[in-house]
Protein backbone atom coordinates (compact mmCIF):
# COMPACT_ATOMS: atom_id res chain seq x y z
CA UNK A 1 0.00 0.00 0.00
CA UNK A 2 3.02 2.30 0.32
CA UNK A 3 3.07 2.62 -3.47
CA UNK A 4 -0.52 3.81 -3.66
CA UNK A 5 -0.75 6.71 -6.13
CA UNK A 6 -1.61 10.14 -4.77
CA UNK A 7 -3.16 13.36 -6.02
CA UNK A 8 -0.52 15.99 -6.77
CA UNK A 9 -2.44 18.78 -5.06
CA UNK A 10 -5.57 19.37 -3.01
CA UNK A 11 -6.98 21.40 -5.92
CA UNK A 12 -6.41 18.42 -8.20
CA UNK A 13 -8.49 16.18 -5.94
CA UNK A 14 -11.28 18.74 -5.58
CA UNK A 15 -11.45 19.30 -9.35
CA UNK A 16 -11.61 15.54 -9.94
CA UNK A 17 -14.34 15.08 -7.30
CA UNK A 18 -16.36 18.02 -8.65
CA UNK A 19 -15.76 16.79 -12.21
CA UNK A 20 -17.22 13.46 -11.20
CA UNK A 21 -20.24 14.98 -9.45
CA UNK A 22 -21.02 17.49 -12.19
CA UNK A 23 -22.46 15.39 -14.96
CA UNK A 24 -25.30 15.24 -17.44
CA UNK A 25 -27.90 15.06 -14.63
CA UNK A 26 -26.93 18.53 -13.40
CA UNK A 27 -27.72 20.03 -16.78
CA UNK A 28 -30.75 18.06 -17.85
CA UNK A 29 -32.33 16.73 -14.65
CA UNK A 30 -32.12 19.41 -11.95
CA UNK A 31 -33.96 22.23 -13.78
CA UNK A 32 -37.01 20.06 -14.48
CA UNK A 33 -37.04 18.50 -10.99
CA UNK A 34 -36.92 21.96 -9.37
CA UNK A 35 -39.61 23.32 -11.69
CA UNK A 36 -41.98 20.40 -11.04
CA UNK A 37 -41.48 20.54 -7.27
CA UNK A 38 -42.32 24.06 -6.23
CA UNK A 39 -39.95 26.21 -8.34
CA UNK A 40 -38.18 28.69 -6.07
CA UNK A 41 -39.65 27.02 -2.97
CA UNK A 42 -37.80 23.81 -3.94
CA UNK A 43 -34.51 25.41 -2.88
CA UNK A 44 -35.40 25.05 0.79
CA UNK A 45 -35.83 21.24 0.75
CA UNK A 46 -32.95 21.04 -1.73
CA UNK A 47 -30.52 22.90 0.55
CA UNK A 48 -31.79 20.94 3.53
CA UNK A 49 -31.13 17.69 1.66
CA UNK A 50 -27.68 18.91 0.62
CA UNK A 51 -26.72 19.69 4.21
CA UNK A 52 -28.33 16.65 5.85
CA UNK A 53 -27.65 13.92 3.26
CA UNK A 54 -25.44 15.01 0.36
CA UNK A 55 -22.54 16.53 2.27
CA UNK A 56 -22.73 14.04 5.20
CA UNK A 57 -22.53 11.08 2.76
CA UNK A 58 -19.67 12.78 0.89
CA UNK A 59 -17.83 13.19 4.21
CA UNK A 60 -18.55 9.54 5.00
CA UNK A 61 -17.22 8.26 1.67
CA UNK A 62 -14.18 10.58 1.70
CA UNK A 63 -13.37 9.37 5.23
CA UNK A 64 -13.74 5.69 4.33
CA UNK A 65 -11.42 6.05 1.33
CA UNK A 66 -8.90 8.14 3.24
CA UNK A 67 -8.85 5.97 6.36
CA UNK A 68 -8.60 2.57 4.66
CA UNK A 69 -6.64 3.79 1.60
CA UNK A 70 -8.25 1.27 -0.72
CA UNK A 71 -11.00 1.13 -3.34
CA UNK A 72 -14.53 0.24 -2.21
CA UNK A 73 -14.16 -3.57 -1.84
CA UNK A 74 -10.82 -3.18 -0.07
CA UNK A 75 -12.22 -0.54 2.25
CA UNK A 76 -15.25 -2.65 3.14
CA UNK A 77 -12.98 -5.65 3.71
CA UNK A 78 -10.80 -3.64 6.08
CA UNK A 79 -13.89 -2.41 7.91
CA UNK A 80 -15.36 -5.89 8.21
CA UNK A 81 -14.70 -8.86 5.88
CA UNK A 82 -18.35 -9.91 6.09
CA UNK A 83 -19.44 -6.82 4.16
CA UNK A 84 -16.86 -6.84 1.36
CA UNK A 85 -19.60 -7.86 -1.09
CA UNK A 86 -21.19 -4.39 -0.73
CA UNK A 87 -17.99 -2.91 -2.20
CA UNK A 88 -18.12 -5.32 -5.14
CA UNK A 89 -21.82 -4.64 -5.58
CA UNK A 90 -21.00 -0.91 -5.82
CA UNK A 91 -18.29 -1.68 -8.40
CA UNK A 92 -20.64 -3.85 -10.45
CA UNK A 93 -23.17 -0.98 -10.49
CA UNK A 94 -20.45 1.43 -11.64
CA UNK A 95 -19.50 -1.06 -14.36
CA UNK A 96 -23.06 -1.18 -15.74
CA UNK A 97 -23.45 2.62 -15.58
CA UNK A 98 -20.16 3.16 -17.42
CA UNK A 99 -21.41 0.93 -20.26
CA UNK A 100 -24.42 3.08 -21.12
CA UNK A 101 -23.14 6.45 -19.88
CA UNK A 102 -20.39 6.28 -22.54
CA UNK A 103 -23.12 6.03 -25.16
CA UNK A 104 -24.87 9.20 -24.02
CA UNK A 105 -21.54 11.05 -24.05
CA UNK A 106 -21.02 9.65 -27.57
CA UNK A 107 -24.40 11.09 -28.69
CA UNK A 108 -23.39 14.47 -27.26
CA UNK A 109 -20.05 14.23 -29.08
CA UNK A 110 -21.81 13.48 -32.38
CA UNK A 111 -24.22 16.38 -31.80
CA UNK A 112 -21.30 18.72 -31.08
CA UNK A 113 -20.26 18.18 -34.69
CA UNK A 114 -23.83 18.15 -36.04
CA UNK A 115 -24.31 21.58 -34.47
CA UNK A 116 -21.67 23.11 -36.76
CA UNK A 117 -24.11 22.83 -39.68
CA UNK A 118 -27.32 22.53 -37.62
CA UNK A 119 -27.58 19.15 -39.27
CA UNK A 120 -30.75 18.18 -37.37
CA UNK A 121 -32.95 20.39 -39.55
CA UNK A 122 -36.47 21.53 -38.55
CA UNK A 123 -37.86 18.23 -37.26
CA UNK A 124 -35.40 17.54 -34.44
CA UNK A 125 -37.41 14.63 -33.03
CA UNK A 126 -37.43 12.75 -36.33
CA UNK A 127 -33.74 13.53 -36.75
CA UNK A 128 -32.77 12.14 -33.33
CA UNK A 129 -34.87 8.97 -33.31
CA UNK A 130 -35.01 8.32 -37.05
CA UNK A 131 -32.04 9.74 -38.91
CA UNK A 132 -29.47 9.52 -36.10
CA UNK A 133 -30.38 6.56 -33.87
CA UNK A 134 -32.35 4.73 -36.63
CA UNK A 135 -34.40 3.36 -33.77
CA UNK A 136 -36.17 0.00 -34.16
CA UNK A 137 -39.92 -0.13 -33.64
CA UNK A 138 -40.03 -2.73 -30.87
CA UNK A 139 -38.03 -2.61 -27.62
CA UNK A 140 -35.80 -5.65 -27.23
CA UNK A 141 -34.65 -5.83 -30.87
CA UNK A 142 -31.00 -5.06 -31.60
CA UNK A 143 -31.17 -4.16 -35.29
CA UNK A 144 -27.46 -3.82 -36.01
CA UNK A 145 -24.79 -1.27 -35.08
CA UNK A 146 -25.32 2.42 -35.88
CA UNK A 147 -21.97 3.75 -37.11
CA UNK A 148 -22.72 7.35 -36.13
CA UNK A 149 -23.09 6.18 -32.53
CA UNK A 150 -20.36 3.56 -32.62
CA UNK A 151 -17.56 5.87 -33.84
CA UNK A 152 -17.93 8.55 -31.12
CA UNK A 153 -18.39 5.73 -28.61
CA UNK A 154 -14.98 4.35 -29.60
CA UNK A 155 -13.52 7.86 -29.14
CA UNK A 156 -15.13 8.19 -25.69
CA UNK A 157 -13.73 4.84 -24.56
CA UNK A 158 -10.30 5.53 -26.05
CA UNK A 159 -10.05 8.86 -24.21
CA UNK A 160 -11.36 7.36 -20.95
CA UNK A 161 -9.02 4.38 -20.98
CA UNK A 162 -6.02 6.47 -22.04
CA UNK A 163 -6.62 8.91 -19.16
CA UNK A 164 -6.92 6.03 -16.70
CA UNK A 165 -3.84 4.30 -18.13
CA UNK A 166 -1.86 7.50 -17.44
CA UNK A 167 -2.73 7.11 -13.76
CA UNK A 168 -4.15 9.23 -10.98
CA UNK A 169 -1.87 12.25 -11.12
CA UNK A 170 -0.84 12.39 -14.78
CA UNK A 171 -4.15 11.10 -16.07
CA UNK A 172 -7.24 11.86 -13.96
CA UNK A 173 -5.89 14.94 -12.18
CA UNK A 174 -4.25 16.50 -15.24
CA UNK A 175 -7.37 15.93 -17.38
CA UNK A 176 -9.76 17.39 -14.81
CA UNK A 177 -7.52 20.43 -14.37
CA UNK A 178 -8.23 21.22 -18.01
CA UNK A 179 -11.76 19.87 -18.46
CA UNK A 180 -13.48 21.39 -15.45
CA UNK A 181 -12.34 25.01 -15.99
CA UNK A 182 -13.14 24.59 -19.71
CA UNK A 183 -16.63 23.33 -18.82
CA UNK A 184 -17.21 26.24 -16.45
CA UNK A 185 -16.12 28.83 -19.02
CA UNK A 186 -18.20 27.29 -21.83
CA UNK A 187 -21.25 26.97 -19.63
CA UNK A 188 -20.89 30.48 -18.30
CA UNK A 189 -20.80 31.84 -21.86
CA UNK A 190 -23.93 29.83 -22.63
CA UNK A 191 -25.77 31.10 -19.54
CA UNK A 192 -24.83 34.73 -20.27
CA UNK A 193 -26.20 34.32 -23.80
CA UNK A 194 -29.31 32.58 -22.44
CA UNK A 195 -30.25 35.27 -19.92
CA UNK A 196 -29.90 38.00 -22.55
CA UNK A 197 -32.36 36.31 -24.93
CA UNK A 198 -35.78 37.79 -25.46
CA UNK A 199 -38.21 35.92 -23.22
CA UNK A 200 -35.55 34.73 -20.75
CA UNK A 201 -37.37 36.58 -17.96
CA UNK A 202 -40.52 34.56 -18.62
CA UNK A 203 -38.58 31.33 -18.14
CA UNK A 204 -36.77 32.59 -15.04
CA UNK A 205 -40.05 33.79 -13.52
CA UNK A 206 -41.57 30.34 -14.00
CA UNK A 207 -38.46 28.61 -12.67
CA UNK A 208 -38.00 30.69 -9.52
CA UNK A 209 -41.59 31.65 -8.69
CA UNK A 210 -42.11 29.89 -5.34
CA UNK A 211 -45.09 27.64 -4.76
CA UNK A 212 -45.04 27.62 -0.97
CA UNK A 213 -47.68 24.90 -0.70
CA UNK A 214 -45.15 22.52 -2.26
CA UNK A 215 -42.89 22.49 0.79
CA UNK A 216 -45.70 20.90 2.82
CA UNK A 217 -45.78 18.03 0.33
CA UNK A 218 -43.63 15.05 1.37
CA UNK A 219 -43.00 14.07 -2.26
CA UNK A 220 -41.19 17.37 -2.85
CA UNK A 221 -38.79 16.60 0.00
CA UNK A 222 -38.21 13.10 -1.36
CA UNK A 223 -37.55 14.62 -4.81
CA UNK A 224 -35.00 16.98 -3.22
CA UNK A 225 -33.22 14.09 -1.49
CA UNK A 226 -33.34 12.08 -4.73
CA UNK A 227 -31.82 14.92 -6.75
CA UNK A 228 -29.02 15.41 -4.21
CA UNK A 229 -28.37 11.68 -3.99
CA UNK A 230 -28.25 11.03 -7.74
CA UNK A 231 -26.30 14.14 -8.71
CA UNK A 232 -23.39 13.90 -6.26
CA UNK A 233 -21.85 10.61 -7.50
CA UNK A 234 -22.43 9.11 -4.06
CA UNK A 235 -23.36 5.55 -3.21
CA UNK A 236 -21.37 3.72 -5.84
CA UNK A 237 -17.77 3.85 -4.75
CA UNK A 238 -16.45 6.78 -6.79
CA UNK A 239 -15.77 9.11 -3.89
CA UNK A 240 -14.31 6.28 -1.77
CA UNK A 241 -11.85 5.49 -4.58
CA UNK A 242 -10.91 9.13 -5.23
CA UNK A 243 -10.41 9.85 -1.49
CA UNK A 244 -8.17 6.80 -1.17
CA UNK A 245 -5.57 8.73 -3.22
CA UNK A 246 -5.48 11.68 -0.78
CA UNK A 247 -2.33 12.31 1.20
CA UNK A 248 -2.41 11.38 4.88
CA UNK A 249 -2.93 14.90 6.24
CA UNK A 250 -5.56 16.06 3.76
CA UNK A 251 -8.60 17.86 5.07
CA UNK A 252 -11.74 15.79 4.52
CA UNK A 253 -14.74 17.71 5.79
CA UNK A 254 -14.08 20.99 4.02
CA UNK A 255 -13.28 19.14 0.79
CA UNK A 256 -16.73 17.55 1.05
CA UNK A 257 -18.35 20.98 1.60
CA UNK A 258 -16.53 22.40 -1.44
CA UNK A 259 -17.55 19.43 -3.62
CA UNK A 260 -21.18 19.52 -2.47
CA UNK A 261 -21.59 23.28 -2.86
CA UNK A 262 -19.75 23.33 -6.22
CA UNK A 263 -22.10 20.68 -7.57
CA UNK A 264 -25.14 22.61 -6.32
CA UNK A 265 -23.74 25.88 -7.70
CA UNK A 266 -23.37 24.31 -11.13
CA UNK A 267 -26.92 22.92 -10.95
CA UNK A 268 -28.29 26.33 -10.12
CA UNK A 269 -26.36 27.84 -13.02
CA UNK A 270 -27.76 25.12 -15.29
CA UNK A 271 -31.29 25.88 -14.06
CA UNK A 272 -30.86 29.58 -14.87
CA UNK A 273 -29.47 28.78 -18.33
CA UNK A 274 -32.00 26.11 -19.25
CA UNK A 275 -35.07 28.07 -18.13
CA UNK A 276 -33.89 31.29 -19.78
CA UNK A 277 -33.64 29.35 -23.04
CA UNK A 278 -37.01 27.64 -22.48
CA UNK A 279 -38.55 31.09 -21.86
CA UNK A 280 -37.13 32.24 -25.19
CA UNK A 281 -38.57 29.18 -26.94
CA UNK A 282 -41.99 29.62 -25.30
CA UNK A 283 -42.07 33.22 -26.51
CA UNK A 284 -41.08 32.22 -30.06
CA UNK A 285 -43.80 29.58 -30.22
CA UNK A 286 -46.41 31.72 -28.42
CA UNK A 287 -47.02 29.07 -25.73
CA UNK A 288 -46.62 28.80 -21.95
CA UNK A 289 -43.26 27.66 -20.50
CA UNK A 290 -44.85 24.49 -19.07
CA UNK A 291 -45.57 23.36 -22.62
CA UNK A 292 -41.90 23.39 -23.58
CA UNK A 293 -40.41 22.07 -20.32
CA UNK A 294 -38.59 18.82 -20.82
CA UNK A 295 -35.75 16.85 -19.25
CA UNK A 296 -33.20 14.16 -19.97
CA UNK A 297 -32.52 12.95 -23.48
CA UNK A 298 -35.56 14.82 -24.85
CA UNK A 299 -34.35 18.18 -23.49
CA UNK A 300 -30.80 17.78 -24.78
CA UNK A 301 -31.29 16.16 -28.16
CA UNK A 302 -34.74 17.34 -29.25
CA UNK A 303 -35.67 20.59 -27.49
CA UNK A 304 -32.21 22.19 -27.47
CA UNK A 305 -31.57 21.64 -31.19
CA UNK A 306 -34.97 23.27 -31.84
CA UNK A 307 -33.89 26.23 -29.74
CA UNK A 308 -30.56 26.45 -31.58
CA UNK A 309 -32.55 26.71 -34.81
CA UNK A 310 -34.47 29.68 -33.39
CA UNK A 311 -31.49 31.68 -32.06
CA UNK A 312 -31.13 35.02 -33.86
CA UNK A 313 -27.34 34.77 -34.40
CA UNK A 314 -24.42 32.37 -33.90
CA UNK A 315 -26.71 29.32 -33.77
CA UNK A 316 -23.95 26.88 -34.68
CA UNK A 317 -21.53 28.33 -32.14
CA UNK A 318 -24.00 28.07 -29.26
CA UNK A 319 -25.00 24.56 -30.34
CA UNK A 320 -21.32 23.64 -30.30
CA UNK A 321 -20.88 25.19 -26.84
CA UNK A 322 -23.94 23.43 -25.41
CA UNK A 323 -23.07 19.95 -26.68
CA UNK A 324 -19.37 20.54 -25.98
CA UNK A 325 -20.34 21.26 -22.35
CA UNK A 326 -22.31 18.02 -22.22
CA UNK A 327 -19.27 16.11 -23.54
CA UNK A 328 -16.93 17.66 -20.94
CA UNK A 329 -19.37 17.13 -18.06
CA UNK A 330 -20.04 13.56 -19.19
CA UNK A 331 -16.42 12.60 -19.84
CA UNK A 332 -15.15 13.71 -16.44
CA UNK A 333 -17.92 11.68 -14.79
CA UNK A 334 -17.30 8.67 -17.06
CA UNK A 335 -13.60 8.68 -16.15
CA UNK A 336 -14.46 8.59 -12.44
CA UNK A 337 -17.00 5.79 -12.88
CA UNK A 338 -14.55 3.56 -14.79
CA UNK A 339 -11.75 4.34 -12.32
CA UNK A 340 -13.76 2.70 -9.49
CA UNK A 341 -13.72 -0.77 -11.02
CA UNK A 342 -10.29 -0.40 -12.64
CA UNK A 343 -8.85 0.37 -9.17
CA UNK A 344 -10.90 -2.35 -7.45
CA UNK A 345 -9.87 -5.10 -9.88
CA UNK A 346 -6.24 -3.92 -9.90
CA UNK A 347 -6.00 -4.07 -6.11
CA UNK A 348 -7.79 -7.31 -5.50
CA UNK A 349 -6.20 -9.38 -8.23
CA UNK A 350 -2.74 -7.80 -7.97
CA UNK A 351 -2.71 -6.61 -11.61
CA UNK A 352 -0.72 -3.73 -13.04
CA UNK A 353 -2.73 -0.59 -13.78
CA UNK A 354 -2.37 -1.04 -17.55
CA UNK A 355 -3.66 -4.64 -17.37
CA UNK A 356 -6.60 -3.64 -15.20
CA UNK A 357 -7.48 -0.75 -17.52
CA UNK A 358 -7.28 -3.05 -20.52
CA UNK A 359 -9.20 -5.94 -18.98
CA UNK A 360 -11.96 -4.31 -16.95
CA UNK A 361 -12.22 -1.08 -18.98
CA UNK A 362 -11.89 -3.02 -22.23
CA UNK A 363 -14.67 -5.42 -21.23
CA UNK A 364 -16.96 -2.50 -20.40
CA UNK A 365 -16.14 -0.90 -23.75
CA UNK A 366 -17.00 -4.08 -25.66
CA UNK A 367 -20.25 -4.59 -23.75
CA UNK A 368 -21.28 -1.00 -24.44
CA UNK A 369 -21.69 -2.01 -28.10
CA UNK A 370 -25.21 -3.14 -27.21
CA UNK A 371 -26.14 0.53 -26.76
CA UNK A 372 -24.81 1.53 -30.16
CA UNK A 373 -27.35 -0.73 -31.86
CA UNK A 374 -30.62 0.52 -33.34
CA UNK A 375 -32.42 -0.76 -30.25
CA UNK A 376 -29.84 0.78 -27.90
CA UNK A 377 -32.03 3.62 -26.64
CA UNK A 378 -34.67 1.22 -25.24
CA UNK A 379 -32.03 -0.86 -23.45
CA UNK A 380 -30.42 2.32 -22.12
CA UNK A 381 -33.71 3.73 -20.87
CA UNK A 382 -34.65 0.62 -18.88
CA UNK A 383 -31.18 -0.18 -17.55
CA UNK A 384 -30.67 3.46 -16.48
CA UNK A 385 -34.01 3.65 -14.65
CA UNK A 386 -33.59 0.37 -12.78
CA UNK A 387 -29.88 0.67 -11.97
CA UNK A 388 -30.50 4.17 -10.52
CA UNK A 389 -33.63 3.43 -8.55
CA UNK A 390 -32.90 -0.12 -7.42
CA UNK A 391 -29.11 -0.23 -7.75
CA UNK A 392 -27.57 3.04 -6.57
CA UNK A 393 -30.40 3.95 -4.21
CA UNK A 394 -30.46 0.47 -2.63
CA UNK A 395 -26.70 0.13 -2.24
CA UNK A 396 -26.57 3.69 -0.85
CA UNK A 397 -29.22 2.75 1.70
CA UNK A 398 -27.29 -0.43 2.59
CA UNK A 399 -24.07 1.57 2.91
CA UNK A 400 -25.43 3.97 5.52
CA UNK A 401 -27.42 1.32 7.42
CA UNK A 402 -24.53 -1.16 7.62
CA UNK A 403 -21.99 1.48 8.63
CA UNK A 404 -24.27 3.12 11.19
CA UNK A 405 -26.05 0.12 12.66
CA UNK A 406 -24.12 -3.09 11.90
CA UNK A 407 -20.41 -2.29 11.80
CA UNK A 408 -20.98 0.74 14.07
CA UNK A 409 -18.23 2.64 12.29
CA UNK A 410 -19.69 6.15 12.47
CA UNK A 411 -17.85 7.16 15.64
CA UNK A 412 -14.43 5.82 14.58
CA UNK A 413 -14.86 7.43 11.15
CA UNK A 414 -15.88 10.72 12.78
CA UNK A 415 -12.74 10.62 14.96
CA UNK A 416 -10.62 9.99 11.86
CA UNK A 417 -12.17 12.90 9.94
CA UNK A 418 -11.99 15.25 12.93
CA UNK A 419 -8.30 14.49 13.50
CA UNK A 420 -7.31 15.91 10.10
CA UNK A 421 -10.11 18.35 9.22
CA UNK A 422 -10.69 21.99 10.07
CA UNK A 423 -14.45 21.64 10.49
CA UNK A 424 -15.21 19.24 13.33
CA UNK A 425 -18.16 16.90 12.94
CA UNK A 426 -20.74 16.96 15.66
CA UNK A 427 -23.52 14.60 16.62
CA UNK A 428 -25.55 16.12 13.74
CA UNK A 429 -23.45 14.12 11.27
CA UNK A 430 -24.21 10.81 12.98
CA UNK A 431 -27.93 11.65 13.24
CA UNK A 432 -28.08 12.60 9.54
CA UNK A 433 -26.43 9.35 8.48
CA UNK A 434 -27.80 7.01 11.10
CA UNK A 435 -31.43 8.15 11.15
CA UNK A 436 -32.46 10.78 8.61
CA UNK A 437 -30.80 9.44 5.44
CA UNK A 438 -31.90 5.79 5.96
CA UNK A 439 -35.46 6.96 6.62
CA UNK A 440 -35.68 9.09 3.47
CA UNK A 441 -33.83 6.61 1.23
CA UNK A 442 -35.90 3.73 2.69
CA UNK A 443 -39.14 5.58 1.94
CA UNK A 444 -37.89 6.37 -1.60
CA UNK A 445 -37.08 2.71 -2.15
CA UNK A 446 -40.47 1.43 -0.90
CA UNK A 447 -42.32 4.04 -2.95
CA UNK A 448 -40.37 3.08 -6.09
CA UNK A 449 -41.12 -0.60 -5.52
CA UNK A 450 -44.84 0.22 -5.09
CA UNK A 451 -44.89 2.28 -8.30
CA UNK A 452 -43.19 -0.48 -10.29
CA UNK A 453 -45.49 -3.17 -8.94
CA UNK A 454 -48.59 -1.14 -9.80
CA UNK A 455 -47.47 -0.42 -13.36
CA UNK A 456 -44.73 -1.50 -15.74
CA UNK A 457 -42.10 1.15 -16.41
CA UNK A 458 -43.00 3.24 -19.49
CA UNK A 459 -45.52 0.52 -20.46
CA UNK A 460 -42.76 -1.63 -21.88
CA UNK A 461 -43.56 -5.32 -22.25
CA UNK A 462 -43.14 -7.29 -19.04
CA UNK A 463 -40.46 -9.65 -20.41
CA UNK A 464 -38.35 -6.68 -21.53
CA UNK A 465 -38.49 -4.94 -18.14
CA UNK A 466 -37.97 -8.24 -16.31
CA UNK A 467 -34.77 -9.05 -18.21
CA UNK A 468 -33.16 -5.65 -18.78
CA UNK A 469 -34.55 -3.91 -15.67
CA UNK A 470 -35.07 -6.23 -12.72
CA UNK A 471 -32.75 -8.83 -14.28
CA UNK A 472 -29.81 -6.45 -14.53
CA UNK A 473 -30.37 -5.24 -10.95
CA UNK A 474 -30.34 -8.82 -9.62
CA UNK A 475 -27.38 -9.93 -11.76
CA UNK A 476 -25.36 -6.93 -10.59
CA UNK A 477 -26.02 -7.89 -6.95
CA UNK A 478 -25.08 -11.54 -7.62
CA UNK A 479 -21.90 -10.49 -9.44
CA UNK A 480 -20.98 -8.40 -6.40
CA UNK A 481 -21.40 -11.41 -4.11
CA UNK A 482 -19.59 -13.72 -6.54
CA UNK A 483 -16.62 -11.37 -6.91
CA UNK A 484 -16.27 -11.04 -3.15
CA UNK A 485 -16.07 -14.86 -2.99
CA UNK A 486 -13.51 -15.13 -5.81
CA UNK A 487 -11.59 -12.25 -4.33
CA UNK A 488 -11.53 -13.90 -0.91
CA UNK A 489 -10.12 -17.13 -2.36
CA UNK A 490 -7.41 -15.23 -4.21
CA UNK A 491 -6.68 -13.16 -1.11
CA UNK A 492 -6.30 -16.32 0.98
CA UNK A 493 -4.09 -17.98 -1.67
CA UNK A 494 -1.85 -14.89 -1.81
CA UNK A 495 -1.74 -14.73 1.98
Amino acid sequence: MENRPQWGTRTGFILAAVGSAVGLGNIWRFPAVAYENGGGAFFLPYLFALLTAGIPILILEFTIGHKFRASAPGSWRKMNKKWEWIGWWQLAIAFVISIYYATVVAWAMAYTFFSLRLQWGRDTEQYFFGDYLKIVTDPGQYGGIVLAVFIPQVIVWTVTLFVLYRGVKKGIEATNKVMLPALLILFFVLVVRAVTLEGAVIGLNDFFKPNWHAIFDGKVWVAAYGQIFFSLSIGFAIMVTYASYLSKNSDITNNAFITGFANAAFELLAGIGVFSILGFMALQQGVEVDQVVSEGVGLAFIVFPQIMNELPVLNALFGFIFFGSLVLAGLSSQISIVETFVAGVQEKFGLSRSKSVLLSGGLAAVLSLIFSTRGGLYFLDVVDYFINNFGIALVGLMEVIVIAWFTRQLKPLQSHADAISDIKLGVWWRICLGVLTPLVLGYMMLDNIRINIESTYENYETWFVSIYGWGVVIVVLLIGIWFSMIGRKIGERNG
Partner: protein, 38 residues
Amino acid sequence: MDTDAITMMTIGIIMVWGGLAVSIVFAIRKEKQKRNDN
Protein backbone atom coordinates in the same frame (compact mmCIF):
# COMPACT_ATOMS: atom_id res chain seq x y z
CA MET B 1 -39.06 39.92 -13.25
CA ASP B 2 -41.49 38.91 -10.52
CA THR B 3 -40.38 40.08 -7.03
CA ASP B 4 -40.86 36.64 -5.42
CA ALA B 5 -38.87 35.02 -8.24
CA ILE B 6 -36.03 37.55 -7.83
CA THR B 7 -36.01 36.95 -4.07
CA MET B 8 -35.79 33.17 -4.45
CA MET B 9 -33.12 33.44 -7.15
CA THR B 10 -31.06 35.72 -4.90
CA ILE B 11 -31.49 33.43 -1.88
CA GLY B 12 -30.47 30.40 -3.97
CA ILE B 13 -27.41 32.12 -5.41
CA ILE B 14 -26.30 33.54 -2.04
CA MET B 15 -26.69 30.23 -0.19
CA VAL B 16 -25.12 27.95 -2.79
CA TRP B 17 -22.45 30.20 -4.30
CA GLY B 18 -21.88 31.83 -0.90
CA GLY B 19 -21.43 28.42 0.72
CA LEU B 20 -18.95 27.49 -1.99
CA ALA B 21 -17.03 30.77 -1.63
CA VAL B 22 -16.77 30.43 2.17
CA SER B 23 -15.55 26.82 1.91
CA ILE B 24 -12.93 27.79 -0.68
CA VAL B 25 -11.69 30.74 1.39
CA PHE B 26 -11.45 28.44 4.40
CA ALA B 27 -9.40 25.94 2.37
CA ILE B 28 -7.06 28.62 0.99
CA ARG B 29 -6.38 29.96 4.48
CA LYS B 30 -5.62 26.45 5.74
CA GLU B 31 -3.22 25.76 2.88
CA LYS B 32 -1.43 29.11 3.45
CA GLN B 33 -1.12 28.31 7.14
CA LYS B 34 0.28 24.87 6.30
CA ARG B 35 2.88 26.42 3.98
CA ASN B 36 3.89 28.96 6.65
CA ASP B 37 4.25 26.19 9.23
CA ASN B 38 6.60 24.33 6.91
